[in-house]
């Protein structure tokens, strides 16, 4: 029997608790805006760079690096038979990166759910995952290259092995941090298993999962570059090493710069937004109400 059906409205009860008053937006001085701080950081970096160039001739100038980048991006000539290459190495690396993440993130996420949700899995897996976490990506790079030789398997495996522990550790600690009172509440109301998994576990650990993804993406990008540097003959890491070995330091620096730009863009355009969205519920100001309610 349904009471709502008996009483579609309840006028005697619906004394609305006033109107929410949102907090007034505070004006931030322009010197404290993120864009200004970022621009300042870049400017300082450029000044330091130019200074290093003036004291050490092996440090290429900004100018040299930029014009090298132009050739590399446009496919022009670097002198002799050597030609600019950019999209080729980039697409190979991105492919490895995406495949590795497509395996590593869900596998790590699943491990995180198991470790966070079950005591038995925790005792078996927790230390293994921690070992994975503390080993530097260089170790994966060399191990994977040793196992799989030159080719795309080693970099993909390195990306997977780096992504897994970040996902697992973040997600499992998110789940373990959940209020046990919420589980008891779900028990008391006999909330179905599936709804519980999606709303309580995933909902509660979502912000941790996004943080895990963010860290996994950044760190496994590094792993990828290292494997490509030492263990492959293709991809962006290999390209950077190629110019390093050829003692073309403007080329080496140009590629390092591209790596930094790539990961920064990824972080700004995708990951931070995801993180912001997934933690929205924590960031809301508490509203005050016009009702005579003391809080």
């Amino acid at each position: 029997m349904s009471y709502a059906a008996d009483l579609p409205t309840a006028p005697e009860f619906s004394q609305a608790p006033g109107t929410p008053q949102s907090a007034p937006a505070q004006a931030v001085h322009w010197t404290r805006k993120p864009w200004f701080i970022n621009a300042l950081a870049v400017a300082i970096l450029l000044v330091v760079w130019q200074y290093l160039n003036s004291v050490n001739e092996r440090v290429p100038s900004i100018n040299e690096v930029v014009s090298f980048l132009g050739v590399e991006l446009g496919g022009g000539s670097h002198g002799g038979v050597s030609r600019g290459e950019f999209w080729g190495p980039l697409s190979i690396s991105l492919q490895r990166y995406v495949i590795g993440l497509a395996i590593g993130v869900p596998v790590g996420g699943l491990l995180g759910l198991l470790i966070g949700g079950s005591r038995r899995f925790r005792s078996v897996l927790n230390d293994t995952v921690l070992v994975l976490l503390v080993l530097p990506s260089v170790v994966w790079a060399f191990t994977a290259s040793l196992w799989f030789g030159i080719g795309s398997t080693a970099p993909v495996v390195a990306v997977v092995l780096t992504a897994v522990p970040f996902m697992a550790v973040n997600l499992s600690s998110g789940i373990r941090g959940l209020d046990p009172g919420l589980a008891l509440m779900s028990d008391a109301f006999r909330v179905p298993r599936l709804r519980r998994a999606t709303h309580l576990l995933v909902g509660g650990a979502l912000s941790n999962a996004v943080t895990g993804v963010r860290l996994a993406l950044m760190t496994s990008w590094n792993s990828l570059l290292i494997v490509e540097w030492f263990g492959t003959a293709s991809g962006v890491g290999w390209r950077a090493k190629h110019w390093y070995d050829a003692q073309r330091f403007e080329g080496f620096v140009a590629w390092i710069l591209l790596f930094v730009v790539f990961i920064t863009l990824l972080d700004w355009l995708v990951l931070r937004r995801l993180e912001h969205r997934s933690t929205r519920w924590q960031q809301q100001p508490t509203l005050t109400f016009a009702e005579g309610e003391v809080t």
Partner: protein, 255 residues
């Protein structure tokens, strides 16, 4: 008609690393509650009130004894209001309601909105719990318990974390919504005035989880906490509590 039948219920917690002695939370509680009554379980903190409700709700196992919570012979649907609101912080107020709803349909959303309106929260259904005051969050907790159309309503000191004025207005909400639905209710509290204001019957627990008194409250509704009749029963309940304490203390001295 719903019935709560409790027979010789005992709960002993084993020693823990932090408290290396076993704790008897309930020491043989028996009671029987039938029909549309509001029963208060009154006791000081540590007297096993939360343990009792958790066992009745089926989320904790008794050490010994039996509990039956039935509606017309089948297991009853239970609604539980906790001491803390216990809302999912990452879901809106309305989604928190729908989280416990046993059917999913347009109707269930309408019912959720109806019970939110009963506690005066129609305007905040889309907000996150953290955006509400403690009193409003607890009102969501009350609306949620009624939403599952419970045969039995369990409430664990739902107003003890509120300041006195908020508690007063929430008791008022509860009285009105209960008068409307008249669910079999088990309401746990350490507040004598609250018990008298709300209940048809008061069961008194003492530490160790033993029922030592069972007092009927035959007063008209709605009641106000400052009604003379309410005050009179309150005095009587306190007197009985004092004599129980004196008896326990006297017993201690003789040992």
């Amino acid at each position: 008609m719903a019935t709560i039948l409790i027979e010789n219920l005992t709960k002993v917690y084993p020693p823990t690393p932090t408290y290396p002695q076993q704790v008897q939370a309930l020491g043989g509680v028996s009671m029987s509650v039938t029909g549309n009554v509001f029963v208060a379980v009154l006791g000081p903190s540590g007297s096993g009130k939360t343990t009792l409700l958790n066992i009745v709700a089926g989320v904790e196992e008794p050490t010994a004894g039996a509990v039956r919570v039935v509606q017309d012979g089948v297991p009853a649907q239970v609604g539980y209001v906790f001491q803390e609101p216990r809302l999912l912080p990452w879901r809106s107020v309305l989604d928190n309601m729908l989280y416990v709803q046993n059917r999913k349909s347009d109707r269930s959303k309408r019912e959720a909105e109806f019970y939110l309106s009963m506690v005066g929260l129609s305007d905040v259904a889309h907000l996150y719990p953290a955006q509400l005051s403690a009193g409003m969050q607890q009102r969501v907790g009350i609306a949620r318990a009624f939403l599952v159309n419970p045969d039995v309503l369990l409430m664990d000191e739902p107003f003890s974390h509120m300041d006195a004025l908020t508690g007063r207005s929430l008791r008022d909400y509860l009285q009105r919504i209960w008068a409307h639905t008249r669910k079999t209710a088990l309401f746990v509290t350490h507040d004598v005035g609250e018990a008298v204001e709300l209940a048809d019957r008061i069961l008194m627990l003492r530490p160790g989880g033993v029922v030592f008194d069972d007092i009927p409250v035959n007063l008209q509704r709605p009641r106000r906490p400052d009604d003379a009749a309410v005050r009179a029963v309150e005095t009587e309940v306190l007197r009985r509590f004092d004599s129980m304490e004196a008896a326990v203390r006297f017993g201690d001295q003789r040992n």
